[in-house]
């Protein structure tokens, strides 16, 4: 799940990703008429989201076909679980923990500050696709409350004043790879 959406998938890249997904699905030995075949569906969706960054319709159709189930069933499962997303996230994914300990320590103010600085709401992506913000339920690092995770990195005891500092760090990173993501679409 370390993959981050890097802008242009490109045809070649998309093919490689489908191949990667197919290789995983083959190891599951799905039997098309086995009534229990769906028991690995959620693992496969995790895998697919790790590969593609999100779960667009085409990927859902592809998975439905492999499992010999309808697209509606796949879509129903995806929409039920918070972890799955059908829209791409930013290159830099900011998650603000909204667990109780973080809430009591003022996580809502940290969230507001991220929203204010980036000028997007929780659940949205900046127009250039670099940043997205989301609320996250307890990561269990309550001693570090309020906690913010950015991609894989955990930031503890984050106060609203620290928000611009965190963003600046990633801003330099984004602009360094900016050329690659500008020529998308």
């Amino acid at each position: 799940m370390s993959y981050t959406h890097q802008g242009c998938p490109g045809k070649q890249l998309a093919l490689e990703r489908y191949e990667q997904l197919n290789t995983y699905i083959e190891t599951l030995h799905i039997v098309p008429d086995n009534p229990r075949r769906k028991d690995t569906l959620i693992q496969t969706l995790h895998k697919a989201q790790g590969i593609f960054g999100y779960l667009p319709d085409e990927v859902q159709h592809h998975i439905a076909q492999k499992y010999n189930i309808s697209h509606a069933e796949v879509s129903g499962v995806i929409s039920f679980y918070n972890y799955f997303t059908t829209t791409p996230k930013g290159d830099v994914q900011i998650n603000v923990c909204l667990g109780t300990a973080c809430y009591v320590a003022g996580a809502d103010k940290v969230m507001q500050e991220f929203e204010r600085v980036l000028d997007i709401k929780s659940g949205e992506v900046t127009p250039d696709g670099s940043f997205s913000i989301e609320g996250l339920r307890c990561v269990g690092a309550c001693s570090l409350a309020p906690v913010v995770t950015v991609n894989e990195k955990v930031y503890g005891k984050v106060q609203p004043e620290k928000v611009p500092e965190i963003l600046e760090h990633y801003l330099t990173e984004v602009s360094a790879t900016g050329d690659a993501s500008n020529d998308q679409d």
């Binding site: 229990r36 959620i42 499962v77 679980y81 109780t100 990561v139 269990g140 690092a141 309550c142 001693s143």
Partner: protein, 626 residues
Amino acid sequence: MTRINSQQQLLETYQQVRPLLNLRLNGQDVASSERTIMVCGGTGCHASESQQLVANFQALIEENGLSDSVQASVTGCFGFCEQGPIVKIYPDDVFYVQVKPEDAHEIFEEHILDNRRVERLLYTDPVLQERVAEQHNIPFYQPQQRIALRHAGLINPEDIREYIAVEGYQALGKVLTEMTPQQVIEEMKRSGLRGRGGAGFSAGKKWEFAQQYDAPEKFIICNADEGDPGAFMDRSIMEGDAHTVIEGMAIAGYAIGANQGYVYIRAEYPLAVQRLRRALDQARELGLLGTDILGSGFDFDIDIRLGAGAFVCGEETALIHSMQGERGEPTTKPPFPAQSGLWGCPTIVNNVETLANVPVIFTRGADWYNSIGTETSKGTKVFALAGQVNNIGLVEVPMGITLRQIIYDIGGGIKGGGEFKAIQTGGPSGGCIPSKFLDVPIDYESLASIGSMMGSGGMIVLSDATCMVKFARYYLEFSVEESCGRCLPCRVGTKRLHEILVNITEGRGTEADLVELKELSEIISDTALCGLGQTAPNPVLSTMKYFWDEYVAHVHDHRCPAGACEKMLNYEIDPEKCIGCTACARVCPVDAISGQVKQLHTIDQVRCIKCGACKAKCKFKAVNIN
């Protein structure tokens, strides 16, 4: 290591690996130059770069050619997360706190090479203002009794040999070679162990139900979908002692006649998943999982299933649906999963902490276990202590301890010297307990009788800075978001409760709202489909019961006593500081500010929508919030 084929071979292996822990278990011979450095590898400390700390120690050991006498390794969560990352040195029992990767050098030079403690990294007792060197002398640990967390801080969770060295898998060996499934269930019932996931049903009785059904297939599921915000004990056990859970599951499998187990674990816990995977591989390699375990003829294996972020999947019927690759919606009980669960087969769903208690019941006996705790609740309970308390962390205490002991003796009192207001237990299904109940001995029944519940063990301490109405709103927001939508009382009811609470906290509440809040809460409790819906109004009911005056203050006086509800605050202009620059009046979206140039401005409180734009704009800090 080679496969272990019998109970006899297991005991031989135990004798072989036992010396690995000599320094840690027999301690105190500090004259020798041998040392073991254990570094906390729980998620909290991991986030504070404890991994780098271990690497630094290992590099130093290597550089100094001390690999034969000094070891550094990662271990399970010590629980004292507030002070993390933690480093413990055996056999001295010296406990270093808030250690940074760069401190490794100093600890190594001073402590390991020169046998002198690094005073500045020792824990400081906040009351006595004295340094405390040994773990057992730190007040945080003194009232604790560690059973489920017995190996945290002692063994390396990534090495099965260390688990075997603490008599690991011997309970399974004993059960498989000396006991019938019926005897196992009797022993479990006698121990008095009750489900640690929240509801507190007798674990032995649950197993007995599943055992009674004759079915070609049965399943054991370990519920590690710890969705309660603010609770992290299951994650710590998985990260620090996964083998104990595996052993507990295998014993349960033998008792009910299941050959397959599953661990349903949150995808948000990558470290726990990784450690569990490794533990499963090691157990399989030694033949402690798989076919013909210890030559007994009993087959048992375990697979992992990842959750995908749905709180309701902690409910056992919803969890089973999720494992079948469906939407994780609950269904009515009966039939209970013990009769018809996964794929319609008898299935036991036990919580992580429950299973972690199982092996020790068989190595030390049910009589020993049931001597701990209260009349109705036996053993210990792990709590995740968090919120406005000085010592945030994981604590394991015998049932029957009081909340006062937990908050003040272990927790070190309220953060920042604030006043205690309430303690919230049981997460979104629980309630808030006010100070008058601080001396109630806690067990399943006593917590329920004061309007809360044991829950999975989250404990959030609240100080006088918390508004209880807003806090109830926070939990309802959670319930609205996490309601699966299957039944109407929960889907629509929680939404409506949340709307009323928003109105009250934004100063638009009426007396009729208070009546409706209570009635609606009771209706949801009575009519929702599953446990989560039925308990979702608890945060409202308990805060209304114990903090009624705060609700009244919001509705009648349009005032938030804790000063936490922004919309109820009044923005006022300080006549001393205002120079009449008109900046605030120009930025006000509702034209609520009046005043001439170079004269004092005033805010019309009726028009003001409390957006805060004037405060943000004023360069002279003349806008105050009251």
